[in-house]
């Protein structure tokens, strides 16, 4: 499958953070085409193993979380409207007039209403609406709604994947399906390269609710090297230039205190050698990604963070470039395969 179609397929899967149970099989099916074995753990982390060809293979972990932000029903009011709160980081101002799917007894369409400007007083017009004041309208009255929907049902955003100019794709869940796409593309690339090490390609759960899947995965697999793939902020008007990265200019390699200096430098050296476009992402804090977990898990795991620039993060119009996904995939695959020879080069050059 081409990267474009793969990403479309991945984005069509619903996996609201904490309710990945409904999606694990679909993710597992996609990974299994490129792995020797795939299993799903008790928390629905999907763990693919691509075995190494060398003697004494080490274990390399590469993860991309596959959960997505969403909503959860907190109550059903006397008119059949659904009250809700967020699952993961949702910005209330992006919610008005969105189309949603309520995952109740069956999947139900709904919309988040918004008061028309005609009925809004001038004082209220500029005020932000709080999430607790918003409601999902599924068209039913209370009695009918309660037959299909219960408190605790999760809600996902509906938005088609849009193909834009210049290899750009937009939609919900590009955070972090673009990285899952990179994980799969990396496995494809590894089919073409002889590699010594066992590669655990893991699509992790509950990143958006506290890096939960990463804690479990680090403990369960105890890798020698961890590579987290996630999105970073794409360059947008008004975004601080040191925290955002242009789309289409390559994978962002993170540099900072929690990341392995040795592996980061070697990885960038490899990118230059292989002419893989990359950008440098200076992360002065813990990055807020799964890399933060790996680097201090167990006895400490040397960790790399590769990021795909995504504009408008945590909205339904997150935008990425296919070129950056491919760059991330190629860099991860090649680093896994060639890191030992790079070490030898590095010793003479550094």
């Amino acid at each position: 499958m081409e990267c474009r179609d793969l990403l479309k397929k991945l984005c069509s899967i619903d996996a609201v953070t904490g309710r990945e149970d409904a999606a694990a099989q679909a993710i597992s099916g996609i990974l299994s085409d490129y792995c020797n074995e795939v299993r799903v753990d008790a928390f629905y982390n999907v763990i693919g193993l691509k075995k190494g060809h060398g003697e004494n293979p080490r274990n390399v972990l590469v993860t991309a979380h596959y959960d997505q932000i969403g909503l959860i029903v907190t109550g059903i009011d006397e008119n059949g409207f659904l009250r809700f709160t967020n699952m993961g980081g949702v910005d209330p101002k992006t919610l008005a007039a969105q189309e949603v799917a309520v995952h109740g007894r069956k999947e139900i369409h709904g919309v988040i209403g918004s008061k028309p400007p005609h009925l809004t007083s001038p004082e209220d017009a500029d005020k932000p609406v709080k999430m607790e004041d918003m409601l999902i309208d599924i068209g039913y009255d209370e009695k009918q709604a309660r037959k299909l929907v219960s408190v605790g049902d999760v809600v996902s955003f509906k938005f088609p994947v849009l193909e834009l100019k210049n290899n750009r794709m937009a939609g919900r869940s590009m955070d972090n399906r673009s990285s899952v796409a990179a994980l799969v593309e990396m496995l494809k690339e590894l089919k073409r390269i002889r590699h010594r090490d066992n590669v655990y390609a893991v699509a992790t759960v509950q990143e958006e609710s506290g890096l939960v899947g990463a804690f479990m995965t680090a403990w369960n697999l105890k890798p020698d090297l961890a590579i987290a793939i996630d999105v970073c902020h794409g360059d947008m008007p008004d975004a601080p230039s040191d925290e955002s990265f242009p789309l289409g200019k390559g994978v962002a390699v993170a540099v900072g205190p929690i990341l392995s200096r040795h592996h980061t430098r070697a990885c960038m050296r490899l990118a230059r050698r292989e002419r893989i476009p990359y950008q440098v992402d200076a992360e002065e804090k813990d990055t807020g990604t799964e890399a933060a977990v790996y680097s201090s898990a167990l006895e400490g795991i040397p960790t790399l963070l590769l990021s795909i620039p995504a504009k408008y993060m945590h909205t339904t119009v997150e935008m990425v470039s296919l070129d950056d996904i491919e760059a991330a995939a190629r860099l991860a695959a090649r680093y896994i395969a060639f890191r030992d020879e790079l070490d030898q080069e590095g010793n003479s050059n550094d």
């Binding site: 953070t17 904490g18 309710r19 149970d21 753990d41 008790a42 928390f43 959860i72 029903v73 907190t74 109550g75 059903i76 009250r83 709160t85 967020n86 699952m87 607790e132 219960s150 408190v151 605790g152 509950q206 609710s209 506290g210 939960v212 804690f215 479990m216 403990w219 369960n220």
Partner: protein, 326 residues
């Protein structure tokens, strides 16, 4: 149930100083379990042996409190908060120290609005005549907790520290009933929940259970203009869907719902956007432990006058009893 709750809420036990609560619980259950011991952090762990799955049931012993940071020249005590103490609702409250000394929380009268009453603008008056006098009665680092005797009224309990002594009481009563089960049950009374779900983490690491439940309180939406979820007092224990620290494992939540439905136990579903429980640290321990929660609906959490319904507590006990037999 009221007597057990009453015994446990009367024990002094802010985070890090839970030993009196542990003593009271030990006294209640020691004859009914196979092993009982305290770990290095102070968690009280009681085991009923079995050959099936290891099930960890956790309720936290600690309560919120105040800690003395300085004593001024006139003998007034300045304090910091231990756990989520709301400054405004502390005003005018009586607090009590481990040695039985009573104090009153008040604020500097120079503040413009009572809304500006932050802990640093507040103090505890123990009636001392001077710093020296105060130092004879307390020392820096001593902790105080809210006063608030338990009252039984209309099937409700009004009391201090129901968060989470009501959970401890339910768990202690469960241990006393010795439910017949093949599973190995760990009754864990944890420490330091209010300061970051800390005790449960080390207990879960030591036990490595196959699954775990936190028995804690949850806030209600049945008071005037409250919009926090959909839980009411008296409509049964709440089966946790999520809080801010954990999303209940879908299989655990389903098993609890099935237990309730099949045994005609009323229940509600808890979706809490603020606050956490011991399950938050348990579920990410040692490669992941499927976890969930049974919560007792509680009004006015973290005040000196929390309210629970005794039937809810009784139904939580029934629900757990059927759950551990599965």
């Amino acid at each position: 149930m009221f007597d057990t709750i009453s015994t446990l809420v009367n024990a002094f036990g802010p985070s890090g100083r839970e030993n009196r609560v542990a003593e009271a619980i030990t006294h209640l259950i020691k004859d009914k379990v196979d092993e009982i011991s305290s770990d290095a952090m102070g968690n009280l762990i009681a085991v009923k042996k079995g050959f099936g799955k290891k099930i960890m049931l956790a309720a936290h012993m600690d309560e919120i409190g105040l800690i003395i940071t300085t004593i001024d020249e006139k003998g007034f005590l300045r304090f910091g908060t231990v756990g989520g103490v709301l400054p405004l609702i502390s005003l005018g409250q009586r607090v009590v120290f481990e040695n039985g000394l009573t104090g009153v929380v008040w604020y500097e009268e120079s503040i413009e609005s009572i809304k500006d009453a932050k802990p640093e603008k507040m103090y505890i008056d123990i009636g001392a005549k001077s710093r020296e006098h105060a130092e004879e009665l307390v020392e820096i680092g001593d902790m105080a907790v809210f006063e608030g005797r338990p009252v039984q009224q209309n099937g409700l309990v009004i009391s201090r520290a129901l968060d989470d002594r009501v959970g401890c009481a339910v768990l202690a009563e469960l241990a006393r009933r010795c439910p017949e089960t093949d599973h190995e049950i760990y009754y864990v009374f944890t420490v330091q929940e209010e300061v970051g779900l800390r005790g449960a983490r080390t207990a879960a690491y030591a036990i490595r259970p196959d699954l775990a439940l936190a028995i804690d309180v949850t806030r209600t939406a049945d008071t005037p203009k409250s919009r926090h979820g959909a839980v009411s007092l008296g409509k049964g224990p709440a089966i946790k869907v999520k809080d801010n620290s954990v999303i209940a494992h879908p299989a655990i939540r389903e098993r609890l719902e099935n237990c309730a439905r099949e045994n005609g136990i009323p229940y509600q579903l808890e979706v809490l956007d603020k606050g956490g429980t011991d399950a938050g640290s348990i579920h990410i321990t040692a490669g992941g432990i499927p976890s969930g929660g049974v919560s007792i609906p509680t009004r006015f959490i973290h005040s000196a006058s929390e309210i629970v319904n005794l039937e809810d507590a009784g139904n939580a006990l029934k629900l757990l009893e059927t759950f551990v037999k599965l």
